[in-house]
Amino acid sequence: MSESPMPTKVGPDPTVHSGPTLGGGAALPRAGRGLERLFRWFSTGAGVLVLVVIVAIAAFLITQAIPALRANQANFFTSTKWLPNDVAHPRFGIAALAYGTVLSAAIALVIAVPVALGIALFLSHYAPRRIATGLGFVIDLLAAVPSVIFGLWGRDYLSGPVTDLSGWLHRYLGFIPLFGSGGPYGNSILLGSIVLAIMVLPITTALCRDVFVQTPKANEEAALALGATRWEMIRTAVLPYGRPGIVAAVMLGLGRALGETIALAMTLGATFGVSIDLIQVGGNSIAANIANGFGEANATGRGALIASGLLLFAITLIVNVAARAIIFRRREFVGGQS
C-alpha cells in the first residue's frame, strides 16, 4: 500500500508526445506491422478488461441473486431476519446487516481519522526529513498485515482490554445509550470498530500525507513569514489546501471499512439485531455475515448472501467513485498549475 494512489509527480500527459507519427509503423515490413498491431490490441484489450470485470461483477451477482430474491418471503430492505436456509419459508432482509456495517465503519472512522491526520502531519511537517520516509514505511507495514491476522489478534488478545474498557465505559458513561449495556462484553461493535480503525489507518494516512506534502511551499513560507507558529501555518496553509484530498482519503477509508470481511467476521458477535449499544456482545456486517454464513448455506442461502454482496458492491462502488472523482478533478487541477 505504499504505492500512493495519487502520483506525487503530476505533469502534462506524456502520452501526447507518443503520437502516431512516432514509432514509425508505416515504414515497417509487413510482419512487423502485424506484430505492432497485435501488441496494440493486446494492451488495449487488457485496459478494456478492467471495465469488463466491473460490469461482469454486477451482472453475475445480479444473475445469481434474483432466484433467491424471488423466493424471499420478507422484505429484503426492511427485514432484520436472516433465515434464507429455511426451505419452506426462506425470509431474509438486509436491515440489521446494513446497520451494523455502517455503524462499525462510522465508529472506525471516528477513531481513525484524527489519528490518521496527526500521523500524516507528523510525516509531512514534523518528523525530521531524513527519517520521515523510514517512519512512513512503518505505517505502511500496518497495511501489509493480512486482515485475518488482525482478526486473530483482535479476538485472542484485544478482546481482553476491550472488555475492561467496556466495563469502565459503562460504569462512568453508562448514562449514554452507546454504553448502556451491563454485559456480557467482548466481541462487540466496539472491538470490531477498533480493529477496523487500525486497518483503515494506513490508506487514509498515505493519501493525506501525499496531499500535505504537495502544499505549495510559497503558501507555507508566506504564513511563517507573517509570524505564524507552525500550527497556525498548518491551519491556514496546509489544511485548507488539502481539504478535498482529506475528504477523498476519508471516503477511501470508508470504502475499506465497509468492505472489510475476515477481521470483522472474527471480532463481531454475529447477531442479527439493531441496537445502538456498542459494548454488548453482538453486531454484524454484510461482509462478515457472508463469511460466517457461507458454510451452512443452501442454494437459496447462497443466493441471499450474493444479494447482500451485490448491495455491498453497490455501496462501495458509489463511495469509491465519489472519492476518486474528487482526487481525479484535483489531479487535473494541480497538474494544470505546476
Partner: protein, 358 residues
C-alpha cells in the same frame, strides 16, 4: 502608515517574547508521568493504560498552563498541536507492536517439523499434532497462478494507458482502475463464485459446482490487477521521453521500443509494485473461503477439488473447537506474516535501487 508601525511593534514584541527553556517540555512530560503513576498505580485505581492516558492529559494541561503563562496562548496551542501530532504517530505504533509481540509470543509454540510437513488430515479435536503443509501448498499455488494471470494483463493495461491511450476511453479506464482498487475482497470472491464456480465449472463437472484453488486464484487476480496497473502506470510515466525518441530515431518499431527500452527501464519499480500486490494477495482470506472451499487434506491439483490456504487455515483454526487449534492458528499466522514481510521488505529494497525512482 499606522498599519506599518503597528506591524513593526508586533514583530518587535514577538522577537522579545520569552521562550520556554528547551529542557522544560520533556521535564513536564516526565513529571506528568510520575504524578500519574503515583496517583493511579500507587493507589491501585487502574492499570498502566489508564496511567498513560492520565499522564498524557496532565502533560497537555501542564504545557498549556506553563507555556501559556510564559509564551502566550499562540505558542501554547502550537506546543499542544506538536504533542498531539507526535502522540498520533506513537499511538499508531502500539497496535503494530502489539500484533508483532503477540505473534512472536503465541506463534512460536508450534514451529516444529510436524507443522510444516503434515496436513490436518485425520486430525481430530483431541489430537495435538497436525500441520499447515496443505495450506502452504495452497497459498503458493493460488498466489502463483494469480500472479501468472495478473502480471501480463496488468502490465499490458499499464502500457495501453501510458503508451497507446488517448481520449475518453483511457481516462475512463484510468478512473476505473482506481475505483477497482477499492473493491472489497469478499465481492471479488462472490464474483468468481457466481461466474466461475456456479456457472462455468458445472458444465465440465456433471452439473456440480467446482470449488478449486484455481477459482481462488481468479479472485486474487481480480484483486491484484488494479494494484499492478496502477504502480506500473506510475513507473512507465517516469521513463524519460528521450529514451523512446532515441529508439524511434533508430527505426525501432513502437512495440519493440516498449519491450526493449521502456519496460526494462521501469523494471525495478514495476517489480516493487508487483511484489507488494502479491504480498497483499497472499494474505487474502475471503475469496479462498468462498471459492476454494478449504480441506484438511493435501491437494496438489489447483484445478480440481477443494484447496486450503494459509490465511483460511488461520481463520478455520481460530474458530475450531479444540484446545490445540489456537496454537496452530498463531503459528500459521506467523508463517503467513513471515511470507508477507519477506515480500514487502524485498519490494521496498528493490524500490530503493530503482534508477528512475521518484
Amino acid at each position: 502608515m499606522t498599519t506599518l508601525s503597528q506591524n513593526g511593534s508586533l514583530l518587535a514584541g514577538s522577537l522579545r517574547r520569552r521562550r520556554l527553556p528547551k529542557a522544560l517540555p520533556p521535564l513536564l512530560g516526565v513529571a506528568a508521568l510520575g504524578v500519574s503513576a503515583a496517583g493511579i498505580l500507587g493507589t491501585g485505581a487502574g492499570g498502566w493504560v489508564l496511567t498513560v492516558v492520565v499522564a498524557a492529559v496532565l502533560f497537555v494541561l501542564a504545557t498549556l498552563i506553563v507555556s501559556g503563562a510564559v509564551e502566550g496562548g499562540r505558542r501554547a496551542r502550537d506546543r499542544v498541536a506538536t504533542i498531539a501530532v507526535y502522540g498520533a504517530f506513537i499511538l499508531a505504533l502500539i497496535p503494530l507492536g502489539s500484533v508483532v509481540a503477540t505473534l512472536l509470543a503465541k506463534g512460536t509454540g508450534r514451529i516444529d517439523a510436524e507443522f510444516f510437513y503434515h496436513s490436518m488430515n485425520n486430525i481430530t479435536a483431541l489430537d495435538s499434532g497436525g500441520g499447515a503443509y496443505h495450506a502452504i501448498i495452497g497459498t503458493l499455488q493460488q498466489v502463483g497462478i494469480a500472479a501468472v494471470l495478473a502480471i501480463p494483463l496488468g502490465l499490458a493495461a499499464a502500457v495501453y494507458i501510458v503508451e497507446y491511450g488517448r481520449g475518453r476511453l483511457t481516462t475512463v479506464i484510468r478512473f476505473f482502475v482506481d475505483v477497482m482498487t477499492g473493491i472489497p475482497s469478499i465481492v471479488a470472491g462472490l464474483f468468481v463464485l457466481a461466474f466461475w464456480v456456479l456457472i462455468v465449472t458445472p458444465v465440465f463437472n456433471h452439473g456440480r459446482p467446482g470449488y478449486s484453488g484455481f477459482a481462488a486464484a481468479l479472485a486474487l487476480t481480480v484483486l491484484m490487477l488494479p494494484t499492478i496497473v496502477r504502480s506500473a502506470e506510475e513507473m512507465l510515466r517516469l521513463v524519460p521521453q528521450a529514451l523512446r525518441e532515441g529508439s524511434y530515431a533508430l527505426g525501432v518499431p513502437k512495440w519493440k521500443t516498449i519491450m526493449r527500452v521502456v519496460l526494462p527501464t521501469a523494471a525495478p519499480g514495476i517489480v516493487t509494485g508487483v511484489m507488494l500486490s502479491i504480498a497483499r494477495a497472499a494474505g487474502e482470506t475471503a475469496p479462498v473461503l468462498l471459492v476454494a472451499g478449504g480441506t484438511p487434506a493435501i491437494n496438489f491439483n489447483p484445478f480440481s477439488g477443494n484447496q486450503e490456504s494459509l490465511s483460511y487455515f488461520v481463520y478455520e483454526q481460530a474458530g475450531a473447537a479444540s484446545q490445540f487449534a489456537p496454537g496452530r492458528a498463531w503459528t500459521a499466522a506467523l508463517t503467513l506474516i513471515a511470507i508477507v514481510a519477506i515480500l514487502t521488505i524485498a519490494a521496498k529494497l528493490l524500490a530503493r535501487r530503482s534508477t528512475i525512482g521518484r
